[in-house]
Amino acid sequence: MRSLLRVERHDLGGGVTLYTQGAIASSRITVASWISPAGSSRDPPGKEGLAALTGRLLVTGTRKWDKRELARRLDRIAATLSVDVSWDGVTAEITGPTVVEQELLDILSEVVAHPRFDPAEVVRIRTAMEERLARDASQPSHRAERAFLETLFPEGHPYHRNPGGNRRSVRALRPRDVADFHHRNYRTGGSKIVITSRSEERAVLRAVKARMPPLPDGTTTRPSLPGRTPPGAPREIALPIAGSQQVEILVGGIAPSRTHPAFSALRMGNEVLGGRPILSRLFQSVREQEGLAYDTESDVTMLPEGGFWSAAAGTGAKTVRRVLGILQRETRRMMTQPVSPEELHAIRESFIGSFLLHTDTPLAAHSFADEVATYDLPPDHFETWPAELRRLTPEDIRTAMAEHLEGWARPLVVVAGPPEGVRSIRGG
């Protein structure tokens, strides 16, 4: 069996890269994904949501197969086809039995290269997206996240926008827009194919070469980024939502992009603050010691065009100020005091040890290879990264967080939920 942690990389020409990885023990399943930079950062101004609409339409029929026939083909081989559109890319992923691996690749290639874009389906999916946007507007967690990102990133920045667009922009999208977007942005250049399978490496390579999505050459254009958010943006935002039960609290600021040299230190620091399940400081203080929330965590999200950090919790209306105080206190502590060597050791070894959990299910294993492909990491990244993490000292981590996580001394605070719960926050 091929090594699971080591991903093999092959240049297929035309800017396409193939990443392969062995399957986990006992797996009879192949997972294949096609990744392209055609995410919502490529949405033209005024057409926000176009990348998402295009992505969702990939699974609603192709030139050869209408929606019903495509569904039937998938059902017949128990395959699952899904498309995920984020700010920075689109991923079409198919999962099914390894015994029909070639058919899986045929379907993936066909949906990516020759989507049907049936006008009736465009209208239907567009309507569903509008409904989703309206639904999200009533959900405290979504409202808080939207306000948070819209405040952190200036208008025109990809991360300011909701990848799903807004109700006005989505309503205005037309079938022609979708076809144009696909033609302009679904290109060979920068696209990646990732396969986790128990098949022999050579067989996978042969099968993929014979079934490359026949897309036009060239690459999609990177978005231009606006300057920084002008000073004077609010630092506390309160979003009352009548009828909701729990208050969502989000505290945070700007972080560097994924290629920043402090990535590992920031990632490790986040594990200590609120990233590592159960062991993290937020989990221990907010949930275990104080019993103030079921769910609390922190995140340092480092993406190709920038990043952001956050500490979050969902709590009752009467405990908002207390939870907010803990989130802010623990964040400050990370920046001002080095973590003890014992705490760092425990959390670091837990984090490194958790890589092994990716050998538990076929999709968890595939997410390894996906990460290597998405961020152009070395093929042996998950074998060499532990040594880099172990070299980090407590002071490396403190310095990285204090220097590169902006606004920690006075972070942006967003709370959303029942009116009586958000009243204690000044903004609006």
């Binding site: 023990a25 006992s26 099914g96 989703r132 009533s138 959900q139 039960q245 275990e288 019993g291 969902g314």
Partner: protein, 432 residues
């Protein structure tokens, strides 16, 4: 096509009555251990609703040899994962650890099976955590609809409340109630331990026997004798809250997973909603998808009445619910959605599925089943889940019977299934 083969496993019973299933997977670098107790929210009664779930939380708060927090630290410290979940019929505790630490979760499970300390000092903070979990769910309209549907459909049976329990019962829960529940239901004879992954079965067996040798507690869990009387009339409720478009869910009393009607209920679930979760590998990987070939999707989503539609048969030990649901497209009323849902149900009671439709359902069922045993935790989960629902033979019995059903059998089963009164819950966005 052949019926799927269960992976190789060994089974034995400890002197205390604990059933053990060992599924060695030599190449697996991890070991996945699951302790299943045959107790859930159906074993509660008004006044202690939520006890099974709360007790599950308290079993992480310490036991004879593990102080508060040590269980978490021990497992997560290895890079491992631990969690637990409570269902209406069972409670399961799972740990995934590197194979070198395979014995750690076994030692923990043996310790907390009868030695949980349930410290009173932790009760109040955990009370607010459980209430917070409930509030978090209440932010989701789907949770509220489901809770109301069960509350209306069941007047007698404990399936009428969900595993979180009523907020007022959570507020009034005390240590005595939790300890009483623990002592009544937690013992080796009311549990099954499943271990899958990279370990030597002989060594593992000997370790389990050693660890559970002194774990003794005679439990006589009382049968749940409540039987829901037939529903003769229609019941309905309308909820209001934040949201975008109406949600409608309609439910009928349904057969238990071990009943003769179960294979037909499963095929009807596939026909109407597109999948039978008991035989859908993706279900366990947390990937949901639309089912454009399903009857509800074609009649509600394709026609733009709904943005999503589906079907759910609760695979419960005692008779539960079969439900159909949809979320309206903008501008579509709850009444129109309800009529469209009921029309699809009516059709399966009146019309025969074509031979081709039934053939496709059978083929999907088989190929889905062939992938079910993929991945270490999937194997451990499935062994324990099937055992908790009644036994490992359930899988083959359901499959073989479902494959033998003819169109007329399915229609007859639908007529039986949808014969009683239905319950409908509508969720209307505020202001509708």
């Amino acid at each position: 096509m052949e019926l799927p083969r269960t992976p190789t496993f060994r089974t034995f019973t400890t002197p205390g009555g604990l059933e053990v299933f060992l599924a060695p997977i030599p190449d697996s670098p991890v070991v996945s251990s699951w302790m299943w107790y045959r107790v859930g929210s159906r074993n509660e009664h008004p006044g202690i609703t939520g006890a099974a779930h709360w007790l599950e939380h308290m079993l992480f708060k310490g036991s004879a040899h593990y102080a508060t927090g040590e269980i978490d630290r021990a497992i997560v410290g290895t890079g491992g994962y631990l969690n637990a979940f409570t269902d209406s019929d069972f409670t399961a505790y799972l740990s995934i650890v590197p194979r070198e630490r395979a014995e750690l979760p076994i030692a923990i499970e043996a310790d907390r099976m009868t030695g949980a300390t349930i410290p009173s000092g932790e009760l109040d903070s955990e009370r607010s955590v459980v209430l917070s979990e409930r509030e978090m769910n209440e932010n989701n309209p789907g949770f509220r609809v489901d809770e109301e549907l069960h509350a209306l459909s069941f007047h007698v049976h404990p399936y009428r409340w969900n595993t979180l329990g009523y907020a007022q019962d959570i507020r009034s829960m005390d240590r005595d109630k939790l300890v009483g529940f623990y002592e009544r239901y937690y013992g080796p004879a009311n549990a099954s331990l499943v271990v899958a992954g990279g370990f030597d079965p002989a060594t593992m067996r000997s370790f389990i026997e050693r660890k559970f040798r002194k774990v003794e507690r005679t439990v006589h869990p009382p049968d749940v004798r409540a039987h829901e009387p037939p529903q003769r009339s229609r019941r309905e409720a309308t909820l209001h809250g934040p949201g975008s478009t109406p949600i409608v869910k309609v439910g009928w009393h349904a057969p238990e997973v071990g009943s003769d009607l179960a294979p037909a209920a499963m095929l009807l679930e596939m026909h109407l909603g597109g999948e039978a979760p008991l035989f859908t590998p993706g279900h366990a990987w947390e990937r949901s998808r639309e089912h454009p070939s399903s009857a509800l999707y074609r009649s509600l989503v394709d026609t733009r009445l709904a943005v999503s539609a589906g079907c759910e048969w609760g695979t419960t030990i005692q008779p539960g619910l079969f439900s159909v649901y949809a979320r309206a497209a903008p501008g579509v009323s709850a009444a129109r959605l309800e009529a469209a849902l009921e029309e699809q149900v009516r059709r399966v009671t009146k019309e025969l599925l074509s031979a081709a439709e039934l053939r496709e359902l059978r083929q999907r069922l088989l190929i889905n089943a062939s992938m079910l045993w993929s991945g270490t935790s999937m194997i451990a989960f499935r062994l324990g889940y099937l055992r908790s629902l009644g036994g490992l033979a359930l899988e083959r019995r359901l499959l073989s019977r479902a494959l033998a059903l003819r169109p007329a059998d399915l229609r007859k089963a639908a007529q039986q299934l949808f014969d009683g009164g239905s319950t409908v819950v509508r969720y209307l966005p505020e202001g509708s």
